[in-house]
Point group: C2
Chain length 231, copies 2
């Protein structure tokens, strides 16, 4: 079976797990703590970044970008018996819009929120021998950025069926990868953003999302409604 | 004509300019100062990021990811009379390797070097009414990261004809987009990395690179050998 090396609260790993499940490609999961930079992991991906997908045939794909474009390409259409991979679709302009938003979530949202939040509330906690106190000033800035980004998701979800248009695309999976990590930590103020909340409820109810909702990070309990479909 | 909104020392803008020129698609350039977040620019790209490509037909493509994948796709093959766009090519595995390295340069190198260096040495200078003094501690860390990244480029260039394999790809253009900005500021220790230097000399000698070498940022002179093909 293919093997996906990932971290349970890595947003890019999560987006790829949803994509693989939506396409119908089973994988075994291997957990990696990305801040440890283990030599064996760096031998697999010298960038030291997650996720990494090792295909049965021997090909190793490093990072959500290379993996998602590979999955969107022809080789996987063959692998899935000709079913179109649902990551990017429609006209060139529609696909450009899907990719613009993937870039927004895996680039801008990651830089302005998720990466920093994980450092403050997860990596620091898991690395420290003693209890780790997050930097309250940093958390305040991150929470302000969360509101900006959820406002934008709310706007998109209000205007469209899915974030990039009429159909679900990898843009939804990228957004949900990040927001599910942020939500695990109880940091998404859903009630102020009804369209974003309704969109995320639809993402949560998909079978491909189940394993994410069952994930538990040892030592860090999820927010109470993290796994509830009715939140 | 198509219109590319860009900043002269933006590495992603530069990678796309080289790609457009290699494919043979002429564009007019519009300069944007990305730190100003002008409302008219945010209306074009709400992410506030460069570059943005406005196609004559009315389609707007935001960001190097959406633009490069659009250029790699079928619509541009039509636009270029069936000539294959040289951004990604070969087997699915070869294309995954090209994209892994694009991600390395536009993701990891940007985060660890270029973005911080531009803040310290360009944005700060252009924004400040008075002379701006870069943070020497930050510059020391950036310079250590530059050596790590140029070591990796040197390794790739030593093992392969081009960074991702036998042919030039968007990985080379992404790397050159970043390294040309860093080199403009005189921060690349080329002489310690002969294979990286030989690869960059080949990139510099391509006709598609000429306009980058002619670029001047008002108020910030380039390093003496920035534009020299023999450096």
């Amino acid at each position: 079976m293919h093997r996906l090396t990932q971290f349970r609260l890595c947003p890019r790993s999560r987006s790829v797990r949803v994509a693989l499940s939506e396409i119908g490609i089973p994988v075994t999961l291997a957990d990696e703590r990305p801040w440890e930079y283990r030599p064996a992991f760096l031998a697999l991906n010298p960038a030291g970044e997650l996720p990494v997908l090792e295909l049965e045939g021997g090909l190793t794909l490093c990072g959500a970008y290379a993996i998602s474009e590979y999955l969107a390409g022809r080789s996987v259409e063959e692998e899935t018996q000709g079913r179109p991979a649902p990551l990017f679709h429609g006209s060139p302009g529609e696909r450009a819009e899907q990719r613009r938003l993937v870039d927004w979530f895996h680039g801008k949202l990651d830089r302005e929120v998720t990466r920093e939040l994980l450092v403050e509330r997860v990596y620091g906690h898991l690395m420290a021998a003693e209890a780790h106190a997050p930097d309250t000033g940093a958390l305040r800035a991150i929470r302000a950025n969360i509101r900006h980004h959820v406002t934008y998701v709310n706007h998109l979800a209000h205007e469209r069926s899915w974030l990039a248009g009429d159909e679900m695309s990898f843009a939804d999976m990228a957004a949900a990868g990040h927001l599910s990590c942020i939500d695990y930590l109880g940091e998404v103020p859903w009630d102020a953003y009804p369209s974003a909340k309704a969109w995320y409820a639809r993402m949560k109810s998909r079978p491909a999302f189940r394993t994410l909702l069952a994930d538990r990070m040892p030592g860090i309990a999820p927010a109470p409604v993290y796994a509830d479909l009715d939140f």
